[in-house]
Subunit: 431 residues, 2 copies
């Protein structure tokens, strides 16, 4: 028996399937060498080799798999919740771009990213995919801090060489050579939990030449990629102007081999207005859609047709998209996804059945977690990522009549943004 | 100088107008005998008679007027956040009605309402309008506990005598006589801050005879009234079947003198699907619309056209509508109202400009507060209702560059549901 082997006792909940939760009141969750050996209703059911492991007693608390946040902008964290009633372009120009430009200053980046990583540590998220800024030193700082925290992440230096403010617009060649420098630095650092991910901001801010170079780099390295897709309709028209030969925004990415068509894992954030052709491309390439309902509400982008994506069998995870989104909590995002799907059903398409609580829990755990490998479940063989939530002070006279799944639903609605009690990543206790 | 006279120092924010916030960094807010004497930038600006009052120092914290929650169901509080992915009718039958029926048991009501009132005490709400259940003892218990807490409230015994489950369906004569008994009891109790309000559940659950009796009672007493109006389309069709002579759902209420047409103050919750004729009736009668975006999202009712109501000059306040709504916090409801208005603009009517942060703050303070008299502002002459919020631990490297209004916006998005630090109602310090 190696390190990171123990048993957690508590009220354990995880996804049995896309449609159904599995829960155990006073159950036992076994971690062997950082990997789940499954959940058991009784100590005597645990495989003999693990039965004598030390027990961490979280009796009365909710124990769920760590959540995955599939899309966020780390340098935007400082101004989350500051809208000033702006629309997207004003918001980018007044808040986003000036703030991202500050990350050229490594001292500022260090102060800001220390807050971001420490706050993320206290959410229910154990794995996330983040945009950094264009700056290599700040990006490496963010990767160092994330690695130190024990969280699991893909983090990307942003590429942008057109249609951007002066202080954030790179020279094409410089953007690419800085990317190579960053990748080389990262390789030397031998991170355990943090990985690089190619991050062209989106087609409007990347020249064809830069996109082609990134596509070649994917062919050589197999690196994953993250970007934005079909967030709003004027953006889609813009891409059509910039790439008049494309059949869709997604087709433009694929043209540059940046839509997962080379077999590399790829995240596309938003997909609010994706048409059939684009959806087919994403399906063919196994693209992960980062559904970001808080952001889509705040920027008035619209509502992504998640039910349709699920019915077509696409990969979907949940994302905060800070700071288009205002919350750091995927538990809160789960409820935003639920209400967004209800309004979509009511106002847009009455054939699109609203999402269910088990479904959004699946999306926030296994759905997005699949991007990171076997994470997001307590089934045997999954990375042992777990968070412990306390709902004792969420008083209700109904308490004794609620099962753990009901308590979790209530927690998400009422307390989703509170710091978690404990957190484990691959069996390592971070909190 | 009488009791309840003092000065608060802090970062003070209130509505200057429907469209604009007023704020003072390190300002002084003067309370004289429970009433605001205004806000001053400097001690020397304070009227001489008040300049030597004791100072409560909340330097560095946000100080805002107490919020008003214009519609909620107190006996539904126990199961907020428990949806189980049900639609309205299932939710009513599985959660709402069985739970409301439990309030026949006064011991249960006492346990449950003690939690409800104590939790409300820690929100930013200082005034609320609540439905109780049909039960007189439980309603009086709720009124007693609310009075003890120091919160200001209108609370109503519910009337319902048709289309309701057996255990909650009253006999018409009994419903009315119980109402009279309750009103007589309440009169004897001489509450300072709590008042009764007539509460027919909604037209589908009240016979014409009962509605007529309540209308007569309004004519005799001038009592205020609260009910539900045009929450969803099948409800509206149902009312049309029940009252085929009516021109609209609102017209049916007016027919029974239950739409404020006798000059009594009236709250109608939701108004998601109100047509022009109904809107005109509400305007004519000065009805207060209780906008409940969290509930309207959760029950998939739709989005109320608040911009239209404001342009027409109707009275609008904000409401949690627990437990159709899941949050107890009007600060959180403010952000729900913002995002709902953005989606309405994007998905329903591109001429309906989204609400702004100063507007939703106005709705949550002065807008709904007007139902209770002069509450919701720090202008001279308003009841001194204030809450103190701490945003110190909401870390951001931008902190020093944010003004109090920006900090408040951020607080609403990021921490809206947290317990407040301090609370005052009519100058009495409750927390």
């Amino acid at each position: 028996m190696k390190n990171n082997s123990f048993i957690i006792k508590g009220d354990i909940i995880y996804s049995k399937s896309k449609m159904e939760l599995s829960w155990y009141k006073d159950g036992y969750l076994v971690c062997e060498d950082g990997v789940s050996r499954g959940v058991y209703g009784d100590l005597s059911d645990i495989p003999e080799s693990c039965r004598t492991l030390p027990i961490e007693d979280h009796t009365g608390k909710l124990v769920i798999p760590g959540m995955t946040d599939l899309h966020l902008h780390a340098p935007q964290y400082g101004f989350r919740g500051l809208w000033g009633d702006m629309e997207l372009l004003d918001w980018l120009n007044i808040h986003t771009f000036p703030e991202e430009a500050r990350y050229a200053d490594s001292a500022y980046a260090k102060e800001a990213y220390a807050i971001f990583v420490d706050d993320m540590l206290h959410t229910a998220t154990t794995s996330f995919a983040a945009f950094s800024s264009i700056h290599v030193p700040a990006t490496e700082l963010l990767m160092d801090l994330t690695e130190e925290s024990g969280l699991r992440a893909y983090i990307g230096k942003v590429n942008m060489d057109r249609n951007s403010p002066d202080e954030l617009r790179e020279i094409t060649e410089g953007s690419f050579s800085e990317t190579l420098r960053w990748l080389s630095d990262v390789k030397e650092r031998n991170y355990q939990n943090v990985r690089p991910i190619l991050t062209p901001r989106f087609i409007p801010s990347c020249t064809d030449e830069l996109m082609e170079k990134l596509g070649e780099l994917i062919r050589e390295t197999g690196l994953p990629l993250q970007s934005h897709l079909s967030e709003n309709r004027s953006e889609i028209s813009w891409v059509k102007e910039l790439c008049p030969w494309s059949q869709s925004y997604g087709d433009a990415y694929e043209h540059f081999h940046c839509l997962g068509d080379l077999g590399n894992r790829t995240i596309m954030a938003h997909c609010v207005w994706s048409g059939d052709q684009e959806v087919e491309l994403m399906k063919k390439n196994g693209v992960f859609i980062a559904h970001s309902p808080s952001s889509n509400n705040n920027i008035a982008s619209g509502i992504a047709p998640v039910r349709k994506y699920l019915e077509k069998g696409l990969n979907v995870g949940l994302a905060t998209d800070m700071s288009g989104g205002t919350t750091a909590s995927i538990l809160r995002i789960m409820t935003d996804a639920l209400t967004a799907s209800k309004l979509y059903w009511r106002l847009v398409d009455e054939t699109a059945k609203p999402l269910t609580f088990p479904e959004v829990f699946y999306l926030g755990t296994v759905g997005g977690g699949a991007f990171f490998g076997k994470t997001g479940s307590f089934e045997e063989g999954y990375a042992f990522d777990a968070v412990v939530l306390s709902d004792e002070d969420l008083r209700t006279p109904l308490k004794d009549r609620l099962d753990p799944a009901e308590r979790l639903e209530r927690y998400c609605y009422v307390a989703g943004e509170r710091p978690v009690d404990h957190k484990y990543v691959s069996g390592r206790k971070l909190l």
